[in-house]
């Protein structure tokens, strides 16, 4: 096996920075023109350390970009009904433009019911049923942030998707499913693989674009990557290991996202960009 790198890295860190900078410019313009700055409400149930960290990171990025955030920390014992009340209030609060419900919320919460309490025009995290259907039907709306980040990476690196075979490994509601629908909207032929797929290797070998989104370390074998393929690794596993066997994939792919520094940074960038976009619309700055 050759270990010569052939792939160009898709630099998510750099692209995310650019997107955040653009969002910051736009946020400043909104503040200047309307006297009101974009505001993201972050809602957290309980005190799971990882979730606390994620929310803190998102709020810090907001602050840097001139986006206000309003944090609502709810006790771990919060019921679904109480959470829905909070989200419904934020949905009609004119001073809040985007809403992020940090999840998972814990097993006692009906997360779907909670998501659905978020008004579609404030669903900057792209978690509602409305947002999923909108992106599936190529209608205006916010997209789930990680798939949105993947699409921006593909665009930034001029990957032409029309007629290409894109294989999405994973079928979650916020990652695999919307990623496939977004690729389909760009005229890719799209295959969804998952834990029940019987011959993953054979299907990956046919892929012009692979989107790995399962969270199983090195599930995608490097030697299955078609020479010249584009590899997007959205998997998060302990130890900065992706879902793709990176070292081998690197010798075969044309473009590949590193882990970390690939898809990861894009998620927050899209969240910020969508928050600013939501604020612009709600404050009457533009129509989409």
């Amino acid at each position: 096996m050759s270990t010569t790198q052939t792939a160009q890295l898709m630099d998510g860190t750099h692209l995310a920075k650019r997107i955040v900078e653009e969002a910051a410019v736009k946020a400043a313009e909104i503040s200047h023109r309307t006297g009101s700055s974009p505001c993201l409400a972050t809602v957290l149930v309980g005190e799971d350390p990882a979730s606390v960290t994620y929310v803190r990171m998102k709020r810090a990025r907001c602050a840097k970009a001139g986006i206000r955030s309003r944090h609502i920390a709810l006790p771990a014992a919060t019921t679904t009904a109480e959470l829905i009340d909070t989200l419904s209030d934020l949905s009609v609060d004119p001073d809040v433009h985007g809403i992020l419900l940090q999840h998972p919320c814990g097993p006692h919460i009906d997360e779907r019911a909670a998501f659905e309490a978020i008004a579609p025009e404030k669903d900057v995290d792209g978690v509602t049923m409305h947002s999923f259907a909108a992106l599936s039907f190529a209608l205006p709306g916010f997209v789930s942030c990680t798939p949105g980040g993947i699409m921006r990476l593909l665009e930034a690196y001029d990957v032409d998707l029309a007629g290409k075979h894109a294989v999405v490994v994973g079928r979650s509601a916020i990652l695999g499913k919307p990623a496939g629908m977004l690729l389909l909207a760009k005229d890719a032929t799209v295959t969804y693989c998952h834990s029940r797929t019987t011959d993953l290797s054979a299907i990956v070998r046919e892929a012009d674009v692979v989107v790995a989104a399962v969270g199983r370390p090195r599930l995608i074998r490097g030697e299955d990557i078609k020479p010249g393929a584009v590899v997007i690794d959205a998997g998060y596993n302990p130890g900065n290991v992706g879902d793709v066997d990176y070292d081998t994939a690197l010798t075969r792919a044309r473009l590949i996202t590193p882990v970390p520094g690939g898809v990861g940074p894009m998620t927050i960038a899209v969240l910020l960009a969508q928050t600013v976009e939501a604020a612009a619309k709600q404050l009457g700055m533009q129509r989409r």
Copy 2:
């Protein structure tokens, strides 16, 4: 080329009849227990002859099954806003349990906006964004009728989908996209093909289940059908021609839907079944 038939026909006419009979029994039970019979509102804009025929046929089937229908014929010049008003009124009318907007409505109507005026709990035709997202996320809700009919056919003929490769040719909002999502929910590996797919033959040749849903006569070549595959032809073309080259496919498939008499009759059957289900829920007969 051998012309020996090997495939068993999937008898949609027979299955549809059974489903309608079950719906009729349920409708009678609802009438008996609640004093109110299920009611489907049919809304038609203009007088397109094919649409007039379709609506008449649907209403006749309703009548036979003990389902009332209330027909609203709107002039061809009806605006989107007026159509939305009509559908919104029906959505809150307690005497209407299901709503069918016959479509296409004509180029001057924003059909998506009209569909979205249908309350999800009355969307027995499965056309709303909510219904699509619900079926995509395996949540309770009504399904688009033709994909729903396809799934019932597959179930009736004991087709085990888990781990099988299902290829959906077509990506419309009411047929291809929901069909793929329903197959994915049954653990199939799902590939969406469409007009921009570059090597349709090669992909079809790998399919354990083919769902043809494009409306292009004999687009799917019979010799591409994998021996033993299941072939669902949801294509409607003039002259009772499906999207699959039937004669050749018949010699290779294990199961195949004839055209007509395959998927066709299932669509109305699912519409009736879902109308009765909606009525049962709204009249307090059951919870899903």
